[in-house]
């Protein structure tokens, strides 16, 4: 198979209620080059719309990221449920 037919994926880390909702601590999401955090969330919510809020917080490389941020190969991406430390 030509490599171009295999969509690159980003592994998204999931925690707490989101891990429960999506069935595990991580999920591979296919992304096209140049995809933003917003694109990734839209892709994740396709088929899971009832299990994730419309605009979950996202962290890239352990910092909160805006939805406009472009995801680069090797980025560590995580969905962050509403935090409740303390």
């Amino acid at each position: 198979m030509a490599q171009t037919t295999v969509p690159p994926t980003v592994t998204v880390l999931l925690f707490a209620s989101y891990a429960d909702a999506l069935g595990g601590p991580r999920i591979d999401v296919p992304v096209t080059p140049g995809s933003t955090v917003g694109d990734l969330v839209a892709r994740l919510r396709a088929g899971n719309a009832d299990r994730l809020p419309a605009r979950p917080m996202v962290a890239v490389n352990q910092e909160y990221a805006s939805y406009a941020r472009v995801i680069e190969p090797g980025d560590e991406v995580a969905l962050i449920p509403p935090v409740a430390g303390g």
Partner: protein, 172 residues
């Protein structure tokens, strides 16, 4: 806990054993300090009137420690503390156990209190730690502080607003 660092003596750790507040107080001891403020968060026996038997805390550990370090650095710059130490416990905690401890030392008491207050408020706002309450009836539930009138809408609005504020307002 990490050893004290030369620059500002800022310690931030997630731990899976019980927290000893005396260790944090010692960690922020400083000849220039006239005041040391200590905040402890403890597991209480009810939430919104519902009896709780314990809480298990989960974290995105690497990010949580990174965010904690950022927060105590901000607090140090903002209030000019001598030293700040924070520990947050992860795992299952019974009623009365300490989930978080923050110690801040300063020449004077007002900024020592203010620094400890800043750290706990920012911790609760942005450090990726989650708690699941265990109830007397055997059920358990993730705590969602953004939950309001409508689960989805409230969570989405709260999360987006929080993310926008944290990421510099480029959201939308």
């Amino acid at each position: 806990m990490n050893g004290p660092t030369a620059a500002g003596r800022m310690d931030a750790s997630l731990v899976s054993r019980s927290i000893d507040p005396a260790v944090l107080v010692r960690a922020v001891a400083d000849p220039g300090a006239g005041a040391t403020a200590l905040f402890l968060g403890t597991v209480r026996s009810s939430h919104d009137g519902r009896p709780v038997t314990g809480i298990d805390y989960h974290a995105y550990a690497a990010m949580a420690e990174r965010q904690l370090r950022t927060i105590i650095t901000e607090a140090g710059q903002r209030y000019g503390t001598c030293a700040i130490a924070v520990e947050h416990r992860i795992g299952y905690l019974a009623i009365g156990e300490t989930s978080v401890a923050i110690a801040a030392s300063h020449e004077r008491r007002a900024p020592a209190f203010a620094a400890a207050r800043y750290v706990i408020e920012e911790l609760k706002r942005r450090v990726p730690i989650w708690k699941r309450e265990h109830y007397v009836d055997g059920t358990r539930e993730w705590v969602d502080p953004t939950r309001g009138s409508s689960l989805g809408a409230a969570a989405a609005t709260g999360a987006a607003a929080q993310a926008a504020a944290i990421a510099g307002g480029t959201e939308q």
